[in-house]
Subunit: 315 residues, 2 copies
Protein backbone atom coordinates (compact mmCIF):
# COMPACT_ATOMS: atom_id res chain seq x y z
CA UNK A 1 0.00 0.00 0.00
CA UNK A 2 1.24 3.45 -0.92
CA UNK A 3 0.10 6.90 -2.01
CA UNK A 4 -0.67 5.71 -5.53
CA UNK A 5 -3.11 3.17 -4.11
CA UNK A 6 -4.86 6.01 -2.25
CA UNK A 7 -5.04 7.96 -5.52
CA UNK A 8 -6.67 4.93 -7.16
CA UNK A 9 -9.11 4.74 -4.24
CA UNK A 10 -9.99 8.40 -4.74
CA UNK A 11 -10.79 7.80 -8.40
CA UNK A 12 -12.90 4.75 -7.50
CA UNK A 13 -14.86 6.75 -4.90
CA UNK A 14 -15.76 9.58 -7.28
CA UNK A 15 -19.51 10.17 -7.02
CA UNK A 16 -19.87 7.70 -4.14
CA UNK A 17 -18.75 9.98 -1.32
CA UNK A 18 -18.75 13.74 -0.77
CA UNK A 19 -15.88 16.13 -1.23
CA UNK A 20 -16.04 17.76 2.18
CA UNK A 21 -15.05 21.39 2.73
CA UNK A 22 -12.18 22.78 4.79
CA UNK A 23 -13.46 25.18 7.42
CA UNK A 24 -11.52 28.08 8.94
CA UNK A 25 -12.16 30.04 12.13
CA UNK A 26 -10.08 33.09 13.13
CA UNK A 27 -11.26 32.56 16.72
CA UNK A 28 -9.97 28.97 16.85
CA UNK A 29 -6.71 30.04 15.18
CA UNK A 30 -6.23 32.61 17.92
CA UNK A 31 -6.92 30.08 20.67
CA UNK A 32 -4.59 27.49 19.14
CA UNK A 33 -1.81 29.87 18.12
CA UNK A 34 -1.69 28.39 14.61
CA UNK A 35 -3.66 28.50 11.38
CA UNK A 36 -6.10 25.62 11.68
CA UNK A 37 -7.64 23.94 8.66
CA UNK A 38 -10.60 21.82 9.75
CA UNK A 39 -11.40 19.04 7.29
CA UNK A 40 -15.12 18.68 7.81
CA UNK A 41 -15.73 14.93 7.61
CA UNK A 42 -18.76 15.54 9.82
CA UNK A 43 -20.29 16.65 6.51
CA UNK A 44 -19.38 13.36 4.84
CA UNK A 45 -22.19 10.93 3.96
CA UNK A 46 -23.51 9.30 7.20
CA UNK A 47 -21.80 12.13 9.12
CA UNK A 48 -18.33 10.58 9.31
CA UNK A 49 -15.28 9.64 7.21
CA UNK A 50 -16.16 5.95 7.61
CA UNK A 51 -18.27 6.16 4.43
CA UNK A 52 -15.04 6.32 2.43
CA UNK A 53 -13.48 3.03 3.54
CA UNK A 54 -16.70 1.02 3.58
CA UNK A 55 -17.72 2.29 0.15
CA UNK A 56 -14.34 1.42 -1.35
CA UNK A 57 -14.15 -2.05 0.21
CA UNK A 58 -17.66 -3.00 -0.85
CA UNK A 59 -17.23 -1.54 -4.35
CA UNK A 60 -14.40 -4.01 -4.86
CA UNK A 61 -16.36 -7.17 -4.00
CA UNK A 62 -17.40 -9.66 -6.69
CA UNK A 63 -21.16 -9.75 -7.50
CA UNK A 64 -21.48 -13.33 -6.25
CA UNK A 65 -19.94 -12.29 -2.91
CA UNK A 66 -22.00 -9.12 -2.65
CA UNK A 67 -25.16 -11.13 -3.07
CA UNK A 68 -24.63 -12.95 0.24
CA UNK A 69 -24.70 -9.63 2.12
CA UNK A 70 -22.07 -7.95 4.28
CA UNK A 71 -21.56 -8.51 7.99
CA UNK A 72 -19.78 -6.05 10.21
CA UNK A 73 -19.31 -5.08 13.85
CA UNK A 74 -19.14 -1.51 15.00
CA UNK A 75 -19.89 0.83 17.85
CA UNK A 76 -21.55 3.14 15.39
CA UNK A 77 -20.24 5.11 12.42
CA UNK A 78 -18.66 2.17 10.59
CA UNK A 79 -21.98 0.34 10.93
CA UNK A 80 -23.78 3.22 9.23
CA UNK A 81 -21.09 3.36 6.57
CA UNK A 82 -21.41 -0.34 5.74
CA UNK A 83 -25.21 -0.07 5.76
CA UNK A 84 -25.02 2.81 3.27
CA UNK A 85 -22.45 1.11 1.06
CA UNK A 86 -24.34 -2.19 1.06
CA UNK A 87 -27.54 -0.41 0.03
CA UNK A 88 -25.64 1.54 -2.65
CA UNK A 89 -24.41 -1.71 -4.19
CA UNK A 90 -27.78 -3.47 -3.96
CA UNK A 91 -27.05 -5.79 -1.07
CA UNK A 92 -27.85 -5.89 2.65
CA UNK A 93 -25.72 -5.28 5.72
CA UNK A 94 -25.94 -6.92 9.12
CA UNK A 95 -24.34 -4.82 11.83
CA UNK A 96 -23.36 -6.27 15.19
CA UNK A 97 -23.50 -3.39 17.68
CA UNK A 98 -22.76 -3.06 21.40
CA UNK A 99 -25.74 -3.20 23.75
CA UNK A 100 -24.88 0.32 24.95
CA UNK A 101 -24.54 1.93 21.49
CA UNK A 102 -25.89 5.51 21.23
CA UNK A 103 -29.55 5.52 20.15
CA UNK A 104 -28.80 7.98 17.37
CA UNK A 105 -26.34 5.51 15.80
CA UNK A 106 -28.64 2.48 16.12
CA UNK A 107 -31.52 4.36 14.51
CA UNK A 108 -29.29 5.61 11.70
CA UNK A 109 -28.11 2.07 10.83
CA UNK A 110 -31.70 0.83 10.70
CA UNK A 111 -32.84 3.80 8.60
CA UNK A 112 -30.19 2.82 6.06
CA UNK A 113 -31.86 -0.57 5.74
CA UNK A 114 -29.43 -2.73 7.69
CA UNK A 115 -30.23 -5.43 10.21
CA UNK A 116 -28.91 -4.74 13.74
CA UNK A 117 -27.80 -7.49 16.13
CA UNK A 118 -26.65 -6.61 19.65
CA UNK A 119 -23.73 -8.41 21.31
CA UNK A 120 -22.10 -7.41 24.59
CA UNK A 121 -20.22 -4.19 25.05
CA UNK A 122 -16.66 -4.95 23.91
CA UNK A 123 -15.34 -5.06 20.38
CA UNK A 124 -14.10 -8.63 21.02
CA UNK A 125 -17.64 -9.83 21.75
CA UNK A 126 -18.99 -8.08 18.66
CA UNK A 127 -16.24 -9.48 16.47
CA UNK A 128 -16.92 -13.07 17.60
CA UNK A 129 -20.62 -12.80 16.84
CA UNK A 130 -19.94 -11.18 13.47
CA UNK A 131 -17.41 -13.81 12.44
CA UNK A 132 -19.72 -16.62 13.43
CA UNK A 133 -22.51 -15.04 11.36
CA UNK A 134 -20.14 -14.59 8.43
CA UNK A 135 -19.23 -18.29 8.51
CA UNK A 136 -22.89 -19.34 8.69
CA UNK A 137 -23.86 -17.17 5.74
CA UNK A 138 -20.59 -17.45 3.81
CA UNK A 139 -20.68 -13.65 3.87
CA UNK A 140 -17.82 -11.16 3.93
CA UNK A 141 -17.11 -9.71 7.36
CA UNK A 142 -15.79 -6.19 6.90
CA UNK A 143 -13.77 -4.95 9.86
CA UNK A 144 -13.85 -1.26 10.70
CA UNK A 145 -10.14 -0.48 10.39
CA UNK A 146 -7.91 -3.54 9.99
CA UNK A 147 -8.38 -4.01 6.24
CA UNK A 148 -6.36 -2.72 3.25
CA UNK A 149 -9.31 -1.26 1.32
CA UNK A 150 -10.70 0.38 4.43
CA UNK A 151 -7.32 2.02 5.07
CA UNK A 152 -7.04 3.17 1.44
CA UNK A 153 -10.58 4.55 1.45
CA UNK A 154 -9.98 6.51 4.66
CA UNK A 155 -6.74 7.82 3.14
CA UNK A 156 -8.76 9.72 0.55
CA UNK A 157 -9.86 12.20 3.25
CA UNK A 158 -6.24 13.33 3.61
CA UNK A 159 -5.48 13.17 -0.11
CA UNK A 160 -8.54 15.31 -0.84
CA UNK A 161 -7.51 17.76 1.87
CA UNK A 162 -4.04 18.17 0.36
CA UNK A 163 -5.61 18.95 -3.02
CA UNK A 164 -7.86 21.61 -1.44
CA UNK A 165 -5.08 23.50 0.35
CA UNK A 166 -3.71 26.67 -1.22
CA UNK A 167 -1.10 27.01 1.56
CA UNK A 168 1.19 24.09 2.44
CA UNK A 169 0.30 22.12 5.56
CA UNK A 170 3.04 21.76 8.17
CA UNK A 171 1.25 19.21 10.34
CA UNK A 172 -1.85 17.04 10.33
CA UNK A 173 -3.64 15.83 13.46
CA UNK A 174 -5.74 12.67 13.18
CA UNK A 175 -7.86 10.87 15.80
CA UNK A 176 -7.08 7.17 16.31
CA UNK A 177 -9.38 4.33 17.31
CA UNK A 178 -7.94 1.35 15.47
CA UNK A 179 -5.89 3.46 13.09
CA UNK A 180 -7.82 3.33 9.80
CA UNK A 181 -7.98 7.08 9.24
CA UNK A 182 -4.42 7.62 10.48
CA UNK A 183 -2.91 4.78 8.43
CA UNK A 184 -4.71 6.13 5.36
CA UNK A 185 -3.34 9.58 6.17
CA UNK A 186 0.17 8.12 6.48
CA UNK A 187 -0.05 6.74 2.96
CA UNK A 188 -1.61 9.91 1.52
CA UNK A 189 1.18 12.01 3.06
CA UNK A 190 3.97 10.03 1.36
CA UNK A 191 6.27 12.40 -0.50
CA UNK A 192 5.22 15.42 1.60
CA UNK A 193 6.92 17.07 4.59
CA UNK A 194 3.70 17.14 6.64
CA UNK A 195 4.26 15.91 10.21
CA UNK A 196 1.57 13.48 11.37
CA UNK A 197 0.27 13.69 14.94
CA UNK A 198 -2.26 11.25 16.37
CA UNK A 199 -4.72 11.72 19.22
CA UNK A 200 -6.33 9.07 21.42
CA UNK A 201 -8.45 9.39 24.56
CA UNK A 202 -6.52 8.95 27.81
CA UNK A 203 -6.70 5.25 28.71
CA UNK A 204 -7.56 4.19 25.15
CA UNK A 205 -4.08 4.77 23.77
CA UNK A 206 -3.36 1.51 22.00
CA UNK A 207 -1.39 3.29 19.27
CA UNK A 208 0.72 5.36 21.66
CA UNK A 209 1.60 2.25 23.68
CA UNK A 210 2.20 0.19 20.54
CA UNK A 211 4.62 2.76 19.15
CA UNK A 212 6.54 2.71 22.44
CA UNK A 213 6.58 -1.10 22.47
CA UNK A 214 7.42 -1.45 18.79
CA UNK A 215 4.53 -3.86 18.23
CA UNK A 216 0.69 -3.76 18.50
CA UNK A 217 -0.29 -3.65 22.18
CA UNK A 218 -3.77 -4.18 23.56
CA UNK A 219 -5.42 -1.91 26.09
CA UNK A 220 -8.45 -2.41 28.30
CA UNK A 221 -10.16 0.76 27.02
CA UNK A 222 -11.00 3.23 29.80
CA UNK A 223 -14.46 4.84 29.79
CA UNK A 224 -14.48 7.78 27.38
CA UNK A 225 -16.89 10.27 25.88
CA UNK A 226 -15.26 9.50 22.50
CA UNK A 227 -17.19 6.33 21.62
CA UNK A 228 -15.53 6.18 18.21
CA UNK A 229 -12.03 5.90 19.68
CA UNK A 230 -12.44 2.96 22.07
CA UNK A 231 -10.43 0.24 20.36
CA UNK A 232 -8.69 -2.58 22.13
CA UNK A 233 -5.82 -2.81 19.68
CA UNK A 234 -4.46 -0.93 16.69
CA UNK A 235 -4.90 -2.89 13.45
CA UNK A 236 -2.30 -5.40 12.26
CA UNK A 237 -2.36 -3.88 8.76
CA UNK A 238 -2.37 -0.38 10.23
CA UNK A 239 0.46 -0.56 12.73
CA UNK A 240 3.48 -0.89 10.40
CA UNK A 241 2.18 1.95 8.23
CA UNK A 242 1.71 4.19 11.27
CA UNK A 243 5.06 3.20 12.75
CA UNK A 244 6.82 4.56 9.66
CA UNK A 245 5.04 7.93 9.65
CA UNK A 246 3.67 9.09 13.02
CA UNK A 247 5.64 12.00 14.43
CA UNK A 248 4.00 12.05 17.89
CA UNK A 249 1.12 10.14 19.50
CA UNK A 250 -0.85 12.25 22.00
CA UNK A 251 -3.71 11.65 24.40
CA UNK A 252 -6.52 14.03 25.38
CA UNK A 253 -9.04 13.99 28.22
CA UNK A 254 -12.82 13.82 28.01
CA UNK A 255 -12.95 17.36 29.37
CA UNK A 256 -10.67 18.62 26.60
CA UNK A 257 -12.73 16.88 23.91
CA UNK A 258 -15.94 18.25 25.42
CA UNK A 259 -14.57 21.79 25.36
CA UNK A 260 -13.41 21.29 21.78
CA UNK A 261 -16.92 20.18 20.72
CA UNK A 262 -18.31 23.43 22.13
CA UNK A 263 -15.54 25.57 20.61
CA UNK A 264 -16.05 24.01 17.16
CA UNK A 265 -19.78 24.60 17.47
CA UNK A 266 -19.78 28.27 18.39
CA UNK A 267 -16.58 29.41 16.68
CA UNK A 268 -16.56 27.30 13.52
CA UNK A 269 -20.35 26.63 13.43
CA UNK A 270 -19.72 22.90 12.94
CA UNK A 271 -21.14 20.03 14.94
CA UNK A 272 -18.51 17.44 15.88
CA UNK A 273 -18.82 14.35 18.00
CA UNK A 274 -16.21 14.07 20.78
CA UNK A 275 -14.07 11.68 18.68
CA UNK A 276 -14.17 14.14 15.81
CA UNK A 277 -13.15 17.01 18.08
CA UNK A 278 -10.11 15.18 19.51
CA UNK A 279 -7.64 16.85 17.09
CA UNK A 280 -9.07 20.28 17.96
CA UNK A 281 -8.76 19.40 21.65
CA UNK A 282 -5.03 18.87 21.11
CA UNK A 283 -4.71 22.15 19.19
CA UNK A 284 -6.58 24.10 21.88
CA UNK A 285 -4.20 22.78 24.54
CA UNK A 286 -1.56 24.85 22.75
CA UNK A 287 0.65 21.86 21.96
CA UNK A 288 1.22 23.04 18.40
CA UNK A 289 1.69 26.77 19.14
CA UNK A 290 5.01 28.22 17.93
CA UNK A 291 5.83 24.92 16.29
CA UNK A 292 3.77 24.96 13.08
CA UNK A 293 2.21 27.67 10.94
CA UNK A 294 -0.50 25.66 9.15
CA UNK A 295 -2.11 22.70 10.90
CA UNK A 296 -4.73 20.38 9.43
CA UNK A 297 -7.26 18.77 11.76
CA UNK A 298 -9.14 15.72 10.56
CA UNK A 299 -12.53 16.38 12.10
CA UNK A 300 -13.71 12.85 11.63
CA UNK A 301 -17.43 12.92 12.40
CA UNK A 302 -20.46 14.68 13.82
CA UNK A 303 -22.82 12.02 15.13
CA UNK A 304 -23.52 13.08 18.69
CA UNK A 305 -26.55 12.48 20.93
CA UNK A 306 -28.53 15.70 21.55
CA UNK A 307 -28.48 15.03 25.32
CA UNK A 308 -24.68 14.73 25.29
CA UNK A 309 -24.32 17.96 23.35
CA UNK A 310 -26.70 19.78 25.70
CA UNK A 311 -24.61 18.63 28.67
CA UNK A 312 -21.37 19.80 27.04
CA UNK A 313 -22.84 23.24 26.24
CA UNK A 314 -24.03 23.63 29.84
CA UNK A 315 -20.65 22.54 31.29
Amino acid sequence: MNRRAVEAAQAALSGLVCKTPIIRSPELDRLAGANLFLKAENLQRIGAFKARGAMLAISRLEPAVLERGIVTYSSGNHGQAVALAAASFGTRATVVMPENAPQVKIAAVRTLGAEVIFAGTTSTERQEVAESLGRQRKAVVLPSFDHPDVILGQGTATLEMLSQMTDALDALVVPVGGGGLAAGASLALEGTQVELHTVEPIGCDTLRRSLLAGRPESVEPAPTIADGLKSVKVGAHNFPILQKRVCEAHTVSDEEMGRAVVAALFSAKMLLEPSGAAPLALALRGTLRNRYKNVGLLCSGGNIEPSVLARLIAA
Copy 2:
Protein backbone atom coordinates in the same frame (compact mmCIF):
# COMPACT_ATOMS: atom_id res chain seq x y z
CA MET B 1 -28.85 47.60 -10.47
CA ASN B 2 -28.86 44.28 -12.27
CA ARG B 3 -27.17 40.90 -12.45
CA ARG B 4 -24.06 42.35 -14.11
CA ALA B 5 -23.61 44.69 -11.15
CA VAL B 6 -23.70 41.63 -8.85
CA GLU B 7 -21.07 39.98 -11.06
CA ALA B 8 -18.89 43.08 -10.69
CA ALA B 9 -19.42 42.93 -6.91
CA GLN B 10 -18.33 39.30 -6.90
CA ALA B 11 -15.11 40.18 -8.70
CA ALA B 12 -14.48 43.06 -6.27
CA LEU B 13 -15.01 40.76 -3.26
CA SER B 14 -12.54 38.11 -4.39
CA GLY B 15 -10.19 37.38 -1.50
CA LEU B 16 -12.18 39.57 0.90
CA VAL B 17 -14.96 37.10 1.75
CA CYS B 18 -15.20 33.29 1.81
CA LYS B 19 -16.69 31.07 -0.83
CA THR B 20 -19.06 29.14 1.42
CA PRO B 21 -19.99 25.51 0.73
CA ILE B 22 -23.38 24.07 -0.15
CA ILE B 23 -24.38 21.40 2.35
CA ARG B 24 -26.71 18.45 1.68
CA SER B 25 -28.57 16.20 4.10
CA PRO B 26 -30.59 13.17 2.97
CA GLU B 27 -32.49 13.33 6.27
CA LEU B 28 -33.59 16.96 5.71
CA ASP B 29 -34.48 16.16 2.09
CA ARG B 30 -36.74 13.37 3.33
CA LEU B 31 -38.43 15.63 5.90
CA ALA B 32 -38.94 18.43 3.35
CA GLY B 33 -39.94 16.26 0.41
CA ALA B 34 -37.49 18.03 -1.89
CA ASN B 35 -33.75 18.11 -2.58
CA LEU B 36 -32.46 20.87 -0.32
CA PHE B 37 -29.25 22.74 -1.05
CA LEU B 38 -28.16 24.64 2.04
CA LYS B 39 -25.91 27.60 1.25
CA ALA B 40 -23.81 27.77 4.39
CA GLU B 41 -23.41 31.51 5.02
CA ASN B 42 -23.00 30.60 8.70
CA LEU B 43 -19.48 29.72 7.53
CA GLN B 44 -18.96 33.19 6.02
CA ARG B 45 -16.52 35.57 7.74
CA ILE B 46 -18.11 36.86 10.99
CA GLY B 47 -20.57 33.94 10.77
CA ALA B 48 -23.09 35.60 8.45
CA PHE B 49 -23.60 36.83 4.87
CA LYS B 50 -23.46 40.45 6.09
CA ALA B 51 -19.68 40.44 5.53
CA ARG B 52 -20.36 40.56 1.79
CA GLY B 53 -22.35 43.80 1.65
CA ALA B 54 -20.30 45.66 4.23
CA MET B 55 -17.03 44.66 2.61
CA LEU B 56 -18.22 45.78 -0.84
CA ALA B 57 -19.64 49.10 0.34
CA ILE B 58 -16.53 50.00 2.35
CA SER B 59 -14.17 48.87 -0.43
CA ARG B 60 -15.78 51.48 -2.66
CA LEU B 61 -15.23 54.49 -0.37
CA GLU B 62 -12.64 57.16 -1.19
CA PRO B 63 -9.54 57.18 1.06
CA ALA B 64 -10.40 60.65 2.44
CA VAL B 65 -13.85 59.37 3.43
CA LEU B 66 -12.55 56.09 4.86
CA GLU B 67 -10.19 58.04 7.10
CA ARG B 68 -13.07 59.58 9.06
CA GLY B 69 -14.29 56.12 10.08
CA ILE B 70 -17.58 54.36 9.43
CA VAL B 71 -20.70 54.60 11.56
CA THR B 72 -23.44 52.02 11.51
CA TYR B 73 -26.42 50.78 13.50
CA SER B 74 -27.23 47.13 13.85
CA SER B 75 -28.77 44.52 16.09
CA GLY B 76 -25.73 42.37 15.51
CA ASN B 77 -24.33 40.73 12.40
CA HIS B 78 -24.15 43.87 10.25
CA GLY B 79 -22.26 45.53 13.11
CA GLN B 80 -19.67 42.74 13.06
CA ALA B 81 -19.48 42.92 9.29
CA VAL B 82 -18.81 46.68 9.29
CA ALA B 83 -16.27 46.26 12.10
CA LEU B 84 -14.43 43.62 10.06
CA ALA B 85 -14.58 45.60 6.83
CA ALA B 86 -13.45 48.82 8.49
CA ALA B 87 -10.48 47.02 10.04
CA SER B 88 -9.67 45.38 6.69
CA PHE B 89 -9.49 48.80 5.03
CA GLY B 90 -7.46 50.40 7.81
CA THR B 91 -10.20 52.49 9.41
CA ARG B 92 -12.44 52.24 12.47
CA ALA B 93 -16.11 51.45 12.89
CA THR B 94 -18.55 52.78 15.43
CA VAL B 95 -21.55 50.50 15.88
CA VAL B 96 -24.76 51.70 17.50
CA MET B 97 -26.42 48.62 19.03
CA PRO B 98 -29.65 48.00 20.91
CA GLU B 99 -29.41 47.83 24.70
CA ASN B 100 -30.73 44.25 24.57
CA ALA B 101 -28.32 42.95 21.89
CA PRO B 102 -27.10 39.37 22.43
CA GLN B 103 -23.85 39.33 24.44
CA VAL B 104 -22.18 37.15 21.81
CA LYS B 105 -22.75 39.81 19.16
CA ILE B 106 -21.56 42.72 21.33
CA ALA B 107 -18.37 40.88 22.24
CA ALA B 108 -17.73 39.96 18.62
CA VAL B 109 -18.01 43.60 17.45
CA ARG B 110 -15.55 44.70 20.12
CA THR B 111 -13.11 41.89 19.33
CA LEU B 112 -13.03 43.19 15.76
CA GLY B 113 -11.80 46.54 17.07
CA ALA B 114 -14.99 48.60 16.74
CA GLU B 115 -16.45 51.04 19.23
CA VAL B 116 -19.92 50.09 20.54
CA ILE B 117 -22.54 52.68 21.53
CA PHE B 118 -25.89 51.53 22.94
CA ALA B 119 -29.14 53.29 22.03
CA GLY B 120 -32.65 52.10 22.91
CA THR B 121 -34.12 48.89 21.57
CA THR B 122 -35.68 49.86 18.22
CA SER B 123 -33.96 50.35 14.90
CA THR B 124 -35.38 53.90 14.70
CA GLU B 125 -33.61 54.91 17.92
CA ARG B 126 -30.35 53.36 16.71
CA GLN B 127 -30.61 55.06 13.34
CA GLU B 128 -31.13 58.51 14.89
CA VAL B 129 -28.07 58.17 17.12
CA ALA B 130 -25.97 56.87 14.22
CA GLU B 131 -27.00 59.68 11.89
CA SER B 132 -26.30 62.30 14.50
CA LEU B 133 -22.82 60.80 15.06
CA GLY B 134 -22.22 60.69 11.32
CA ARG B 135 -23.03 64.40 10.99
CA GLN B 136 -20.75 65.32 13.92
CA ARG B 137 -17.83 63.35 12.50
CA LYS B 138 -18.60 63.92 8.79
CA ALA B 139 -18.44 60.13 8.60
CA VAL B 140 -20.31 57.75 6.30
CA VAL B 141 -23.27 56.03 7.94
CA LEU B 142 -23.66 52.59 6.37
CA PRO B 143 -27.17 51.19 6.73
CA SER B 144 -27.59 47.44 7.05
CA PHE B 145 -29.82 46.82 4.03
CA ASP B 146 -31.12 49.99 2.35
CA HIS B 147 -28.04 50.75 0.26
CA PRO B 148 -27.12 49.79 -3.35
CA ASP B 149 -23.65 48.40 -2.56
CA VAL B 150 -24.97 46.45 0.40
CA ILE B 151 -27.63 44.88 -1.83
CA LEU B 152 -25.08 44.06 -4.54
CA GLY B 153 -22.68 42.56 -2.02
CA GLN B 154 -25.38 40.36 -0.50
CA GLY B 155 -26.38 39.31 -4.03
CA THR B 156 -23.03 37.57 -4.41
CA ALA B 157 -24.20 34.83 -2.00
CA THR B 158 -26.83 33.80 -4.55
CA LEU B 159 -24.59 34.29 -7.58
CA GLU B 160 -21.94 32.11 -5.96
CA MET B 161 -24.54 29.48 -5.14
CA LEU B 162 -25.72 29.33 -8.75
CA SER B 163 -22.13 28.78 -9.90
CA GLN B 164 -21.70 25.92 -7.40
CA MET B 165 -24.82 24.00 -8.45
CA THR B 166 -24.45 21.03 -10.76
CA ASP B 167 -28.25 20.54 -10.90
CA ALA B 168 -30.53 23.45 -11.75
CA LEU B 169 -32.34 25.11 -8.84
CA ASP B 170 -36.11 25.35 -9.11
CA ALA B 171 -36.64 27.64 -6.14
CA LEU B 172 -34.63 29.68 -3.66
CA VAL B 173 -35.80 30.56 -0.14
CA VAL B 174 -34.32 33.65 1.50
CA PRO B 175 -34.92 35.15 4.96
CA VAL B 176 -35.96 38.81 5.04
CA GLY B 177 -35.27 41.47 7.65
CA GLY B 178 -35.00 44.65 5.60
CA GLY B 179 -34.51 42.83 2.32
CA GLY B 180 -30.78 43.17 1.59
CA LEU B 181 -30.11 39.49 1.01
CA ALA B 182 -33.38 38.97 -0.85
CA ALA B 183 -32.99 42.02 -3.11
CA GLY B 184 -29.46 40.88 -3.91
CA ALA B 185 -30.83 37.42 -4.69
CA SER B 186 -33.47 38.97 -6.96
CA LEU B 187 -30.76 40.63 -9.03
CA ALA B 188 -28.53 37.55 -9.09
CA LEU B 189 -31.46 35.43 -10.31
CA GLU B 190 -32.13 37.65 -13.34
CA GLY B 191 -32.20 35.54 -16.49
CA THR B 192 -32.94 32.31 -14.58
CA GLN B 193 -36.22 30.46 -13.99
CA VAL B 194 -35.59 30.12 -10.24
CA GLU B 195 -38.67 31.05 -8.18
CA LEU B 196 -37.83 33.27 -5.21
CA HIS B 197 -39.59 32.70 -1.88
CA THR B 198 -39.06 34.92 1.15
CA VAL B 199 -39.53 34.12 4.84
CA GLU B 200 -40.18 36.51 7.71
CA PRO B 201 -41.08 35.85 11.35
CA ILE B 202 -44.80 36.07 12.10
CA GLY B 203 -45.53 39.68 13.13
CA CYS B 204 -42.33 41.01 11.51
CA ASP B 205 -43.61 40.67 7.96
CA THR B 206 -42.92 44.10 6.52
CA LEU B 207 -42.12 42.62 3.10
CA ARG B 208 -45.23 40.43 2.95
CA ARG B 209 -47.45 43.38 3.88
CA SER B 210 -45.60 45.74 1.53
CA LEU B 211 -46.07 43.38 -1.41
CA LEU B 212 -49.80 43.21 -0.64
CA ALA B 213 -50.02 47.01 -0.33
CA GLY B 214 -47.86 47.70 -3.39
CA ARG B 215 -45.60 50.05 -1.39
CA PRO B 216 -43.23 49.78 1.61
CA GLU B 217 -45.30 49.32 4.77
CA SER B 218 -44.00 49.61 8.34
CA VAL B 219 -44.71 47.07 11.05
CA GLU B 220 -44.33 47.28 14.80
CA PRO B 221 -42.12 44.16 14.96
CA ALA B 222 -43.51 41.45 17.24
CA PRO B 223 -41.12 39.72 19.65
CA THR B 224 -39.21 36.99 17.83
CA ILE B 225 -36.38 34.56 18.41
CA ALA B 226 -34.98 35.67 15.03
CA ASP B 227 -33.18 38.83 16.15
CA GLY B 228 -31.75 39.34 12.66
CA LEU B 229 -35.20 39.61 11.06
CA LYS B 230 -36.81 42.32 13.19
CA SER B 231 -37.01 45.23 10.78
CA VAL B 232 -39.61 47.96 10.90
CA LYS B 233 -39.72 48.51 7.17
CA VAL B 234 -38.31 46.93 4.01
CA GLY B 235 -35.68 49.17 2.36
CA ALA B 236 -36.64 51.83 -0.16
CA HIS B 237 -33.94 50.63 -2.56
CA ASN B 238 -34.88 47.01 -1.88
CA PHE B 239 -38.64 47.08 -2.31
CA PRO B 240 -38.95 47.73 -6.07
CA ILE B 241 -36.35 45.02 -6.79
CA LEU B 242 -38.22 42.53 -4.60
CA GLN B 243 -41.58 43.50 -6.02
CA LYS B 244 -40.43 42.46 -9.49
CA ARG B 245 -39.09 39.06 -8.46
CA VAL B 246 -40.62 37.57 -5.31
CA CYS B 247 -42.89 34.63 -6.06
CA GLU B 248 -44.34 34.21 -2.56
CA ALA B 249 -43.71 35.88 0.80
CA HIS B 250 -44.14 33.49 3.76
CA THR B 251 -44.05 33.78 7.52
CA VAL B 252 -42.79 31.24 10.07
CA SER B 253 -43.22 30.94 13.84
CA ASP B 254 -40.54 30.98 16.52
CA GLU B 255 -41.34 27.35 17.22
CA GLU B 256 -40.75 26.40 13.57
CA MET B 257 -37.45 28.28 13.46
CA GLY B 258 -36.37 26.68 16.74
CA ARG B 259 -37.09 23.20 15.39
CA ALA B 260 -35.23 24.06 12.19
CA VAL B 261 -32.15 25.12 14.19
CA VAL B 262 -32.14 21.70 15.88
CA ALA B 263 -32.78 19.82 12.63
CA ALA B 264 -29.94 21.63 10.85
CA LEU B 265 -27.66 20.89 13.77
CA PHE B 266 -28.20 17.16 14.08
CA SER B 267 -29.02 16.29 10.47
CA ALA B 268 -26.75 18.66 8.53
CA LYS B 269 -24.20 19.19 11.34
CA MET B 270 -24.40 22.95 10.85
CA LEU B 271 -25.04 25.59 13.49
CA LEU B 272 -27.58 28.20 12.38
CA GLU B 273 -29.07 31.10 14.28
CA PRO B 274 -32.89 31.22 14.21
CA SER B 275 -32.87 33.86 11.41
CA GLY B 276 -30.57 31.65 9.37
CA ALA B 277 -32.83 28.65 9.89
CA ALA B 278 -35.99 30.45 8.73
CA PRO B 279 -35.79 29.07 5.15
CA LEU B 280 -35.34 25.54 6.50
CA ALA B 281 -38.33 26.12 8.80
CA LEU B 282 -40.44 26.82 5.71
CA ALA B 283 -39.11 23.74 3.94
CA LEU B 284 -39.77 21.49 6.95
CA ARG B 285 -43.39 22.67 7.05
CA GLY B 286 -43.75 20.86 3.73
CA THR B 287 -44.75 23.98 1.81
CA LEU B 288 -42.44 23.13 -1.08
CA ARG B 289 -43.15 19.37 -1.25
CA ASN B 290 -44.43 18.15 -4.63
CA ARG B 291 -43.88 21.61 -6.06
CA TYR B 292 -40.14 21.76 -6.66
CA LYS B 293 -37.39 19.21 -7.16
CA ASN B 294 -34.32 21.27 -6.16
CA VAL B 295 -34.67 23.99 -3.57
CA GLY B 296 -31.90 26.33 -2.40
CA LEU B 297 -32.01 27.63 1.16
CA LEU B 298 -29.97 30.71 2.02
CA CYS B 299 -28.83 29.80 5.51
CA SER B 300 -27.83 33.31 6.37
CA GLY B 301 -25.91 33.05 9.65
CA GLY B 302 -24.87 31.05 12.68
CA ASN B 303 -24.35 33.51 15.54
CA ILE B 304 -26.50 32.12 18.32
CA GLU B 305 -26.14 32.41 22.11
CA PRO B 306 -25.16 29.09 23.73
CA SER B 307 -28.01 29.43 26.25
CA VAL B 308 -30.56 29.87 23.44
CA LEU B 309 -29.23 26.83 21.62
CA ALA B 310 -29.30 24.74 24.80
CA ARG B 311 -32.94 25.72 25.31
CA LEU B 312 -33.87 24.79 21.72
CA ILE B 313 -32.16 21.38 21.99
CA ALA B 314 -34.01 20.64 25.23
CA ALA B 315 -37.40 21.74 23.78
